[in-house]
Symmetry: C2
Subunit: 337 residues, 2 copies
DNA sequence: CTGAAAGCGCTTACAG
DNA sequence: CTGAAAGCGCTTACAG
């Protein structure tokens, strides 16, 4: 059994109050008493319980990061999705910087969630789903939180870092057009989040403005590169007109398509341009390498942590609630000789 | 003020005990009472305090990961050090899988550490320093922990996942020799950890066995690729005999050297072989790409979490306490035509 | 300078 | 079926 403050008090022949005072440098305790208590505490291996302490002000100095799309992914490894790993790492560091710890947690609404999942001072929820129960729960219980991207069904209802899905989609689409694309198709994921929605709407709008017939398909995020063949079949299987450029939202879909079209003898970038709305590591390394948007997850994480800390401390968030602007990493897949 | 169980009890006209029973499905409470209490709890936005609950069994379902070398790094980003990010991400997921959350924390011995830093059920400490105060503190206070790699001054004294620094060093050295290296130099970091130590000892032993004169240098991990020029000067600046192969422990040092020797007109791999003892992303992408050891941080993390969970639950760890074996990713820097 | 008491927000025997 | 009481391990007025 781990020793408590009582054990130390007993061993030192003083009251728990005095032990507390002595060990925390509060109140007034005679120097010798302090030293004796410190010695005894060390001897018995006493460590104050952070949980008991936390009970006083109900703050642990703990932030939680809930990466919603993690549920749709089979892996968290960098081979899979660069974005989340960079985000989680950067968020952890940003939290350390501000005197907090950050934990990555699964859905805290699950009945079998560990106690820790509900012990955070504030929450960061990235890419909430439509009518996301996590946001509902946090909101109902008055737990401070900030989301990255809005709940598609409830935009503007909570503290959220506005993403720039629409303008980022246009950035890629315009680049594809500038690179020579005339029939640009869109390949989205199937998660019901703002990113998929907004990108699709931006695409439809862009097509309408250009007088182009939209050509879009959706495949599950979870299948990653595995959708390559199906996507290739979808776009190039039937006779008739085929796209000469594809905008894949996820880097993994782009990587899969990139490989699948190569197998069909379609040359990238000569016959087909490919660009992705977020980067996976393999996009930089593939032959040809694939143009991707860099969403700067580190910057997003830093800002989210900043806001979360303010909320945790009961202060209003300062500055504009938005993510940094994305930049385009132009690679071989959209660079014609 | 956030509502407590008392508020709910008062509003429902019952005792806190009954609220507790009703909300947790314990004891025997009339169905209607349960429903009324649930309704009222929802109305007032009641959320049970995880901290108060945790006080009962002093367990939060929380694991802490302390990445010691983080102190010597200027960045945690993947451009910097692939290894730790992959480790942290994989550890987080492994923890989720077992019903725990995992937080990345800074040195928990710091007096200004947040409460959370000492609230974990068990700790994972990677690459402890010599006489690491973190290990001392955890050990003194009987807090369960497992280290990845041993404290160089106290090997075998605590639960630790044995690393294979020695055999991994030989793997790289033998590969360099097989690839044509005859005068193999070593470039280590300056942190006082087992990895630097063991690798150096293995190198000296290997040189002795081959009758080669050792040629070794150490540069700070924190400087990363920045050491390239200084390392190139160190190995190739003076007249006389120069190495024809360099084993850099860190991927970032290798990347820096790779670039610096190119600037001097030294061709890799024709005139100089380079290999690294751990991978950074740029090693895969550089021209030429650089051969690295893949330490499989995901496997290490999974095993560390497994052990940490057992210790947190007061059970003895099962199976051999060691990390998975590393594999060599052979790339252009050690492949002569 | 020291300590008894109350309290942080829960849970859990135990008694009614 | 319900509740008063004790307790988890601390801290903090407050009284001596």
């Amino acid at each position: 059994m781990r020793p408590t403050i009582k054990d130390v008090a007993k061993a030192a022949g003083v009251s728990p109050t005095t032990v507390s005072h002595a060990l925390n440098g509060k109140g007034v305790v005679r120097r010798e008493t302090v030293e004796r208590i410190e010695r005894i505490a060390a001897e018995v291996g006493y460590r104050p319980s952070a949980i008991a302490r936390g009970l006083q002000n109900s703050r642990l100095g703990l932030l939680a990061l809930v990466i919603r799309p993690l549920h749709s992914l089979d892996t968290f490894l960098p081979e899979g999705v660069d974005y989340f790993l960079r985000m989680a790492g950067a968020a952890s560091l940003a939290a350390l910087d501000r005197g907090y710890s950050l934990m990555l947690i699964d859905d805290p609404t699950r009945p079998d969630a560990p106690l820790s999942a509900t012990a955070a001072d504030a929450y960061i929820v990235t890419e909430p789903f439509e009518n996301d129960p996590v946001l509902s729960m946090l909101s109902e219980r008055n737990i401070p939180f900030v989301s990255v991207g809005s709940d598609p069904a409830r935009p503007g209802q909570f503290f959220e870092l506005a993403t720039r899905d629409w303008e980022e989609a246009l950035l890629v689409l315009d680049h594809l057009a500038a690179a020579g694309g005339t029939r640009v198709a869109l390949l989205t994921g199937t998660d019901q989040n703002a990113w998929n929605r907004e990108s699709q709407d931006a695409y439809l709008d862009w097509c309408a403005r250009r007088g182009q017939t939209p050509d879009l398909a959706a495949f599950p995020e979870v299948e990653g590169e595995g959708v390559g063949e199906a996507a290739a079949e979808r776009f190039f299987g039937a006779a008739g007109t085929h796209p000469d450029a594809v905008f894949c939202l996820t880097g993994r879909h782009a990587a899969g398509l990139n490989a699948a079209v190569a197998a069909r003898g379609i040359r990238v970038p000569e016959e087909l341009l490919i660009a992705a709305g977020s980067g996976a590591i393999q996009n930089r390394m593939s032959k040809p390498s694939v143009t991707t948007l860099d969403l700067h997850p580190e910057g997003i994480a830093a800002r989210a942590v900043e806001v979360a800390v303010l909320l945790a401390e009961g202060r209003p968030p300062e500055g504009p609630l938005e993510v940094p602007t994305a930049t385009l990493d132009i690679r071989e897949s959209t660079t014609r000789a």
